[in-house]
């Protein structure tokens, strides 16, 4: 039992948990967002297959949060030497700092991907009725991206701010 508790509070385990959360949460959000837009796009394509090219542009937008989550995980793993460099044994406090640093992109990534999916699905409605206004539909969805980018930035700054 004690061994188990000790390993739970091992710095590297906590940092790995942070990296995993960044990928899992942001990835889940992106999967939901992309799936939602895909469903809406499939509805449009059933009636008008010529709109495939336009709808796919909107469908990819909520996928970026998943990429940001992977990027943050990669940076964490890079800093503790799992990816390139020398594998470091870090303290529990350092591990918790990595976990905290992963939270912005994990949580904001999850929520913003779903919100962006909704905005992009609404954009699919614009394409269905006024295909010439595609750019406006994309703009509405892209606005949500701002907050995912800010969260990514916060996570990266925090990760590089941790002294090892």
């Amino acid at each position: 039992m004690q061994d188990w508790l000790t390993s739970m509070f091992n710095g590297n385990v906590i940092a790995f948990t942070g990296a995993a959360l960044a990928v899992i949460l942001a990835g889940m959000g992106s999967a939901r967002g992309v799936g939602m837009v895909g469903e809406a796009a499939a509805g449009v394509i059933t009636e008008d297959p010529s709109k495939f090219g336009q709808t796919i542009l909107l469908q990819v937008l909520p996928g970026t949060q998943g990429i940001y989550g992977l990027l943050v995980a990669f940076v964490i793993l890079n800093r503790i030497g799992v990816v390139g460099g020398e594998y470091l044994q870090i303290t529990a406090v350092q591990g918790f700092l990595f976990l905290a640093a992963a939270l912005p992109i994990g949580i904001v990534g999850y929520k913003s991907a779903i919100a962006q999916g909704r905005a992009a699905a609404a954009g699919i409605g614009i394409i269905a009725k006024r295909p010439e206004e595609l750019a406006k539909g994309i703009t509405f969805a892209v606005m949500v991206e701002t907050y995912a980018v800010l969260a990514l930035l916060a996570s990266i700054i925090m990760i590089y701010g941790i002294r090892l």
Binding site: R32, M36, V37, E39, A40, A41, A42, G43, V44, T46, E47, D48, G117, R118, A119, A121, A122, I124, G125, A128, K129
Partner: protein
């Protein structure tokens, strides 16, 4: 139970494309101003009538390919084909059976009336063309259940209504009274489906539809001087206005009745129709005003990006579009002037 509106992403996307074909004010004007019935029906062809999945499901009857003869039979066939296509689309796109059932159950109750009337008349048979499809239940199965009195597969509300309709006819010999029971059950079942769907927008629509039915029934009873028990029977429970509200109006002066109804949440929209009916006996105005209330409620979904609301709105508007098409084509066939037809048609899709 709350509805996950993202489940309607596919349906919403599909409806957004299809609703471009809905006929707007200018489309109705073109139909009304057309020189011939055939020319008016061509507007319907442009709106996708008689065509499904790129193929002509109305072989040989597409108005664009018809000769000058476009009579009542062709009109009814064209509209029935569109009703059927709309019902099938609803079943196909709705991820929630309750929402599809909400709209389709009307056809089942119509079919029950046809089956019962055949029984009441002693003929025992009916023309299958009188049935409305698709319904929640397959019409043949429904006939088997009713004639065999095997109500096991029927929902509770429908089962009770059929038994009651048979009982009332047995006692009174009046099929109109049986119809009243079935109409009331239809609304009760629609309300039940709306509640089961967990969608508050659909539940709200059910309430508005019940209110409109009650306002029309109550005013008609007052105007025709029907007995209190008859009026009580035609009013449907489950609306936003209690039955006692209508009972209190029974002996009131027309001016008071109008003022009371104008004080309800529908006042602004229905006011003109009520006064027109009470003062001039124009039932068409009352029905049009009541339908405007339903359309305006559905129009609240106009800017909803994703969810059941745009789907529900489409099917409400489509129902009125088919109704308008029938009014215009029948009006033109009967030589009714354009301005009279214009007065009769319901609000256009916008």
């Amino acid at each position: 139970m709350l509805l996950d509106n993202t489940r309607f992403a596919y349906a919403t996307g599909r409806i957004r494309v299809i609703e471009r074909l809905l006929i707007d004010r200018s489309g109705y004007n073109r139909m009304i101003d057309a020189a011939t019935v055939k020319e008016a029906a061509e507007v319907l062809s442009e709106a996708g009538y008689a065509v499904a999945g790129g193929t002509d499901i109305f072989a040989g009857k597409d108005p664009r390919r018809l000769g000058d003869s476009f009579g009542a039979h062709e009109i009814e066939s064209l509209l029935e084909a569109e009703r059927r296509k709309t019902g099938e689309l609803l079943m196909e796109v709705s991820p929630d059976e309750y929402i599809a059932n909400y709209f389709l159950i009307k056809n089942d109750y119509h079919n029950i009336k046809v089956i019962l009337k055949a029984e009441f008349s002693g003929a025992g048979t009916y023309d299958p063309a009188w049935l409305s499809v698709p319904g929640v239940y397959e019409a043949g199965k429904l006939a088997g259940i009713i004639t065999g009195r095997l109500y096991g597969d029927m929902p509770e509300i429908m089962r009770k209504a059929v038994s009651q309709a048979l009982d009332i006819f047995g006692r009174t010999g009046d099929p109109q009274l049986s119809d009243i029971v079935l109409d009331s059950a239809r609304f009760a079942q629609m309300k039940e489906y709306a509640a089961a769907s967990g969608d508050t927008f659909l539940s709200g629509l059910a309430v508005v539809m019940i209110d409109m039915s009650n306002i029309k029934s109550a005013l008609r009873c007052i105007k025709l001087g029907k007995a209190a028990d008859f009026a009580e029977r035609v009013l449907i429970r489950g609306g936003s206005m209690d039955i006692s509200f209508f009972n209190a109006l029974r002996d009131a002066e027309p001016q008071i009745i109008a003022e009371q109804l104008e004080g309800t949440r529908y006042g602004g929209i229905i006011s003109g129709g009520i006064r027109s009916y009470l003062d001039e006996g124009k039932l068409v105005s009352l029905e049009k005003a009541a339908d405007s209330c339903i359309i305006q409620y559905a129009d609240k979904a106009k800017y909803v990006a994703i969810g059941p609301e745009p789907v529900i709105r489409y099917f409400v508007v489509k129902e009125y579009e088919i109704m308008n098409a029938g009014i215009i084509l029948a009006g033109k066939t009967g030589g009714i002037p354009g301005n009279v037809i214009r007065e009769r048609i319901r609000d256009a899709y916008a």
